[in-house]
Symmetry: D4
Subunit: 165 residues, 8 copies
């Protein structure tokens, strides 16, 4: 039987899935149970509100929200929950995600959205794991291993590439 999801992955449109899927894969690799939903702050606001309001009580600990353009999803979710909300600004066609970034990060006092780089859903997942790890030593160990692997991957890349003349 699957574990109940502890991370909710929301996105404004199914076209955001190729980006947000990276978050799902990353969480998976840490053994963190997740669920993904298409919920639009503008097209299905009631469902966003319902999801955000009920998330904590059904066991969700952290919510990731990806959206582009006038990206209101993360902010609207944050308005309805006290859980940490992590925003992923999705690249927009015309302004290349500058609009998505500013719409996600420039939140007013009292209602933060933890914003990561444009399209960087992997980092949203890592951040979620870091939050969860505060009370789960096993995840701390996994993060330490992950960090070491990042370093080793860089070192391997260096061994392959390093040269001189």
């Amino acid at each position: 039987m699957k574990d109940a999801a502890v991370v909710g992955i929301l996105m404004g449109s199914d076209s955001d899935w190729p980006v947000m899927e990276q978050a799902a894969k990353t969480l998976q690799s840490f053994g963190v149970a997740w669920e993904a939903h298409v919920l639009s702050a503008h097209r299905s606001p009631q469902l966003v509100r319902r999801y955000a309001s009920n998330a904590a009580s059904k066991g969700i600990k952290v919510i990731l929200a990806g959206a582009g353009g006038a990206a209101h999803l993360a902010g609207v979710v944050a308005a309805h929950t006290i859980l940490p909300v992590i925003g992923v600004p999705i690249e927009s066609k015309n302004l290349k995600g500058l609009d998505s970034l500013l719409s996600t990060v420039q939140m007013p006092k009292g209602v933060p959205v933890a914003t990561v780089a444009i399209d960087n859903a992997t980092n949203a997942a890592i951040l979620a794991v870091q939050c969860l790890a505060l009370s789960q030593p096993a995840l701390q160990r996994s993060l330490t291993v992950y960090k070491r692997k990042l370093s080793l991957a860089t070192q391997t890349a260096d061994r392959k590439l390093s040269r001189s003349a």
Copy 2:
């Protein structure tokens, strides 16, 4: 007895009033009844939803919404009503309203926000009057007079300033 408001003027914070008050004054000068409220998409989302959902049934025809930074107010209102929503991006301290503008205007397909210039609440009011005038010939005449006055004011300015050498 006051007329029931036909234009709702919403703002995310009372600090936005000096800007949004221009809209109220402009509507007043056209004899259009209005009401103003502080409602925050992030701090009082339920009230925003309730206001937007009920606006039409209580006689509101057009909603103006001013907000700064990650300015979600106009977009969230638009999500809950089929009335025209006019967004006023309010100048933000750091990015001078570029964030407010992009957060307000770059709405996804299906949920428009009619956006005016940064801090230009006067124009939001004029736009509201133009919408109302579609079915109120008296307002059409007022707009024609207003337009003529704009032109005359420019001509007066020209008479005072025009010079040569």
Copy 3:
């Protein structure tokens, strides 16, 4: 016999049609009669003026204007009419529509252009329908249906995509 157009769709160049056609299709789906014209604020200014000045008297209620770069079309139209003018900033080759957006939205006091997102002609049409609906209950019902469909489409996308692990 065709109904007389109530929405005018103007564009600065025929190369803008693929974008502006979305407005036409959207209006069509609401049963709103439209007409489309290529009129340039810079290359055929007299025709723009004539169109804008006569629009109201021939039955046009709302004008949509799409243009790119130093996008003056919507502003020039707005200078010659008291009808609501909705501006669609068209993506420009070099600056990706930032120039089009600022040229369209940053109008001076007294002469608003209701600006929508870059290339989002669909939203310009929805906005036009919202204005017309103020005095046409049938359009209000259509907008309500449209809004419900938007929500349902999101829910369908969610059903297809939602997953967990």
Copy 4:
């Protein structure tokens, strides 16, 4: 008796005069007759058109146009004349003239506006003198003197400031 103006200095609002006055003073110093007018592309479009259409026939050779925000004045003037039109983007309150600059310079093929730096009306005047000088040898000599003075002023500044340690 005053000479007939050969340069027209237009501005969208009388609040632009402190900037545009620099153009007048510069032209004066070259002995080039000018006239200044407040004409708004949005508030008095007919007068703009009339001015631009008649300018050549009444002896105007070059038109300077200063405007801010969605700065359409120079472009609209250029639409109605074959005279060289020089645009001065005026600093706007919120976006510091970036909107004015892009609205002025990004003109479509066939209708150029010769754009100078934000608020740099002096340069607009120099450019006008350079155009007039093409057929007026006296102005060529004045420009040569002016250029030498610029150089000398820099050299004087250098003599005062140059130091070492």
Copy 5:
């Protein structure tokens, strides 16, 4: 006796304290023990590394880092710890914090910085409390109260300001 700090507040320069102090005050109001340090990624990199490397073992759970310009502090801290790192882009003199924001948020895969709005240290503190609250029910209750107060403050502002005509 004071509790051991669970949140570390770092800043690149003591001139950042007026901004970061808001984070301290906010944490205080939640009864969350904090410590504040001036540590520069560029001027005292060894101390940054030492702080970040040892933070977890001495009881720090979340690190807030504020810096301006080429704001590397949060990123460098994140490189040395698996704790959640929250970045506060501090307004820079020339580019108004756009440089600070991009330098803080655009982190590469694997090393996230949870970025909040420019100068919004209050939100960094709230985010820290939200992370801590995941395993401390008392903080959850405090956040719920805080959220209610935000809403009430908006409602009070509305009562004072709301008007109609």
Copy 6:
């Protein structure tokens, strides 16, 4: 025998020719004699200086200069001549011409560069023709014809595209 060139077309690199060639073709169509050269403000500064210094005496009336990135060519040419210098900001690979535009247009007092839109060499040529036309009635007539053709082309496009439903 060819006429002596009256317009000099300079570019910083031969890769700018596809853009600048449009200027040549446009001048050609007006019967204005031109010459084109690759001259770099950074790689062959002496030749730029020599060209600019001697241009007037060999019959050049207007100089067009196209360059990208830190686009100094037009400014350096303007430093060495009293002829009108028209700058064409060429699209740069990374910043899409924003750098080219600002480097070209933001000239200091006393040394203007008449800047046209990014990559719009056609307009640089038209502007040159407008300058020359001040003392050549035949060119005035050609410009009038050109302007009429622009208008007719728009009208033709309108006839093809205009539709309604």
Copy 7:
């Protein structure tokens, strides 16, 4: 036997090599010994510190560092060495290198990074050679030759392209 490297070429990821390789090739052409390494400020910070701290003692004279996005590599290297550090902002996918540029160049007082154009690793190499040439007359001669070749290449391009009509 190879000479010991005097220039270190660092990059944050092996995907930066196609850009940074241009630096290697340029150094090669000047006979300057180099070495290249993949070292990440975020993934292998210890190795960055070690490299930067030891560079001078092992004979490195100048360090080039290329990175994209929140590009901290050059700044972190500069924090650990008194050698000149030259930063190459690498184009990022979404913001086209604007983030990389600002993250690299906007360093605080006391810790400079000599920044070159986005993706312009060739110029980073030339700059390194210019630094080395201060005490190596042979390199001065090579730079003089290089400069002459640049000029000749421009002149050749001019001979091929220059035309008139």
Copy 8:
């Protein structure tokens, strides 16, 4: 008797001295002889060329150049010398130095300008000292001391500010 200057500090206008003076003071504190001059790429181009061309032969080793707006000074100097040229983008009134930065840093292949942060002339001086130190061990020791002082100043600031609660 004063030492011959080894660093040239150039600026486009005497109004740039308050910024560039920081470079002079910093060089002074390292005992590096300097000279300062007002030289404009646009107003006194011949003097710029002469200065740049002769700098090496009269003993100058590094040239610092500060300019604002379309900041061509550093680039033009670099065109005429093989010495390292360090560019200081000076804040401009309207665009806050973004124009100055892009005009200075985005140099084409072959002619680098080592660019520092907007208005950061101190860093230009440090960079110059780092270049000179490559062949002057005494300067290396001074830089090491300077770096230690930077760190100590941060530690002192930390001791004063560090607090907890």
